[in-house]
């Protein structure tokens, strides 16, 4: 009974934090655009949070630069359990074209990832779809 309540509330109010690990900013403005009045992610209970300690879902973009790697791990560790990670954009998934001395080639090289949203950048609708798919899988699993 209580478990169901917790699960229900978790699905209905996923608070997200958005973290750029060295991307071009394209995905980041699209994430914000998904929260804006036109698409209004808040109707799914999605709220953008500034602090990892208040968040459930970590939306990451970028190919993870050397300088941001430790910070990404730290942000991940600061997020309370249960936590979910969405890798948003092609750079976050594979590192894309940025295979250089200063990048690590994707979020999942550094922290575990639950959902991938491809695209360069993914459209706000796609990002929202990724969040909804993650929530649906929670409901089932």
């Amino acid at each position: 009974m209580l478990e169901n309540l917790v699960k229900w509330s978790r699905i209905k109010s996923p608070w997200v934090i958005h973290f750029n690990s060295g991307g071009c900013n394209g995905c980041d403005i699209e994430i914000l655009a998904a929260l804006m009045p036109r698409l209004d992610a808040e109707r799914f209970g999605v709220l953008l949070q500034g602090s990892p300690r208040h968040s459930d879902v970590l939306v990451c973009t970028g190919a993870v630069t050397e300088q941001m790697k430790d910070r990404l791990i730290r942000i991940y560790e600061q997020t309370p359990e249960p936590k979910f990670v969405i890798a948003c954009g092609t750079c976050a998934i594979t590192g894309a074209m940025f295979e250089s001395y200063n990048t690590h080639g994707g979020i999942d090289k550094v922290i575990p990832v639950n959902a991938y949203v491809p695209g360069c950048p993914p459209k706000p609708e796609a990002i929202l779809d990724g969040v909804v798919k993650l929530l649906t899988s929670l409901k089932e699993g």
């Binding site: 630069t65 050397e66 300088q67 295979e99 250089s100 001395y101 200063n102």
Partner: protein, 152 residues
Amino acid sequence: MAEDEVVNKINSDLKGIVQNVESSRARRIKIEVIRESLLDAVQYLINTYGVYHISTISTVDLGESFEVLYHLFGANKLFTVSTKVPKTDPTVNTLTGILPGAILYEREIHDLMGVVAKGHPDLKILVLPDSWGNKGHPLRKDWSLAKYRGEE
């Protein structure tokens, strides 16, 4: 003022300092100097054409030497002051005394190409990670990703 006039004027005013002045197209002027007279040439542009804006500093690895290019914008013209420095002694005089805007760009070329600006107030690391250490200067031609990864 046509570009040819500017080229001639610089040629006659800076006789003995410049090695070559040319204009590839409208509003582009390239001035080649030896590195000892770099500051004189830049100071001349500041005094004569009222240049106050340094756009950036580029460096090119030419094999035995580096070419350092200072892009200055003023009087509706993009001046490029270029000088060559040998790889064995990659130093230039700092511009920060006459153009404070060059501070970050000189730190950048120090990071990525290893060209040292003598007299710069603080040549600490700018774009590379703090843990970089002395793993070389990535924009040099003899620096390669494979070599860097192999050393890891």
